[in-house]
């Protein structure tokens, strides 16, 4: 059996040939294999050598058209994906956009995704308690006056709004009458609130019937509790812990709730992640979301293609879409831009401003019929003296 220190020195010796991450994994696996199979010193050396060989084989040569390969590798599976938008992913009745529409949504960096969803994990000490999870759900879930009332109507004679409260629902949400009144006073135009038994009467001052109707709608949807934008929250048990799934997303607010594990909780709204957690997190979210969507459809795309896409979208510190208003529209070459969309506009503008195309990209050289600067076209040869 090979000595552990021997493995260490052998790995260290090849430290410059592999990345740190691979070295760590290799070490771990060698330890494990050593235990199990009683490796000889020679075997350790040849395993490391094989690893280096495999690593070097997986490297890309400079000049390789990685962007084109990535585009094709993502585009082809796209043709096989369902066009069906909605799916119930994981938890019962939380709607999540999946398939091609979701991929398009990510790649377009849409500001308002169709189905924003959060997955909230809990701190270590309360992870396994259902009661604690329910408490946090109450904090998160949005509650309107409508959802805790038996009925709401407009009293046209007194020009007021009458709400019949449901005490059971109030209790369930942990709301008292005073809480509700306090929240309602924050609404504009509320002049007085009277309570009698379980009836609230809101007066809006001197308003017309039309205005009262509008006011009624505002009262109805006024949030008494919970995080803005979050409509529903569900608890699901995953392995040993309880996880909260929400419909609607607001990471910033969710992180303020005590008991929420901010290191693991995540949203599927990439722009929100960029705002709250930063661009690196957004890059990671793009990779994860695309991969998840593809995997869900049973498609296997090498993660490096997706990573390249995510890098391209986030490299300037903000999320840029792949399209007219993002990557394709901001190319420095006029001809490349013109070949994408609205050709004449780009050419006219370039002519007006006297722009110069340095013909350094691929598209431009294809247009003018020169060898493209990729692969063999990017090699400059000289005679040795």
């Amino acid at each position: 059996m090979a000595d552990l220190t021997y493995i260490d020195t052998q790995i260290e010796k090849n430290g410059d040939k592999l990345t740190e991450h691979i070295l760590g994994q290799l070490k771990e696996k060698l330890y494990f294999a050593n235990e199990k199979y009683n490796l000889s010193n020679d075997e350790v050396v040849s395993i490391i050598e094989e690893c280096i060989k495999a690593y070097e084989k997986s490297l890309v040569d400079p000049g390789e058209a990685v962007g084109t390969v990535a585009a094709q590798s993502l585009g082809e599976p796209g043709t096989q994906m369902t066009l069906n938008t909605f799916h119930y992913a994981g938890v019962a009745d939380i709607n999540v956009t999946l398939g091609l529409p979701r991929i398009i949504e990510i790649v377009d960096a849409r500001k308002d995704p169709n189905t924003p969803v959060m997955r909230i994990y809990l701190d270590e000490d309360i992870r396994e308690s259902r009661e604690k999870a329910e408490e946090i759900v109450k904090e998160i879930e949005g509650t309107t006056i409508e959802s805790i009332s038996k009925s709401m109507k407009i009293d046209v004679i007194n020009m007021s709004i009458v709400v019949e409260l449901d005490t059971y629902k109030m209790q369930k949400q942990g709301l008292t009458l005073d809480d509700i009144k306090e929240k309602l006073y924050k609404l504009k135009k509320v002049e007085s609130i009277e309570d009698e038994d379980n009836f609230l009467t809101l007066k809006a001052g001197d308003v017309s019937l039309m205005e009262l109707r509008k006011f009624f709608n505002r009262v109805k949807s006024h949030q008494l509790k919970g995080i803005k934008n979050v409509k529903r929250a569900l608890i699901k048990k995953e392995a040993e812990e309880y996880v909260i799934y929400t419909e609607g997303s607001n990471l910033g607010e969710a992180f303020k709730i005590p008991g929420v594990d901010i290191t693991r909780s995540i949203s599927n709204d990439i722009n929100e992640i960029q705002r709250v957690l930063g661009i690196e997190a957004a890059r990671r979210a793009i990779v994860d979301e695309i991969r998840k969507t593809l995997e869900e459809q049973g498609l296997d795309v090498d993660i490096r293609h997706i990573m390249l896409l995510a890098d391209l979208m986030t490299m300037e510190g903000e999320i840029k879409q792949i399209g007219r208003h993002g990557i394709s529209g901001e190319k420095s070459s006029i001809l490349a831009r013109a070949s994408f969309e609205v050709t004449t506009n780009h050419l006219m503008k370039a002519a007006k401003f006297g722009e110069i195309d340095s013909l350094s990209g691929v598209t431009e050289n294809v247009i003018i019929g020169q060898p493209i600067p990729m692969g063999t076209g990017n090699v400059k040869l000289i005679m040795k003296k």
């Binding site: 060898p371 063999t376 076209g377 400059k380 040869l381 000289i382 005679m383 003296k385």
Partner: protein, 180 residues
Amino acid sequence: MFKVVQIRDTARVPPNKFGRELNQSIAEILQGQYEGTWDKDLGFILAIHNIIEVGDGKIVPGDGSAYYETVFEALTYLPKLYEVVEGEVEEITEFGAFVRLGPIDGLVHVSQLTNDFINYDKKNNTLSGKESGRVLKVGDKIRGRIVTLSLKRGSAKIGLTMRQPYLGKFEWIAEEKKEG
């Protein structure tokens, strides 16, 4: 005026010239390319004689040749208006004398030879002054000034005068000097 100028240009060396001394191959190629040609700015390019610098031999796709960026010296001749030139009489005709200035000939019209009236002697093939008795024949060395110049692609027409102080056949100038 004769000039030695430095020129920077790319020399295309085809593969069949590879095995030899590079500078010599380049010199041969440049000589074949330049010598005896006429350039709008440089005039006649007469000789390529000194390769000063040879850069990297670039190879472009689809062509087996190597392209060397080179700096070399060339001997050029470009006549200028009102330039004083010296030369040898090459040919005598009824209307004047042709003088070799180097790569090309210039014409001294009979009216521009001397202040004298000029006779053409067909038998001896000479031009002579009626009063002064000065004679111009083939082989005489003269000094003149360019007064008309028409440069066209590959050819130049040059008209000279000798009717100015210290211009003319070398012997006449010597006489003039003696008289003061």
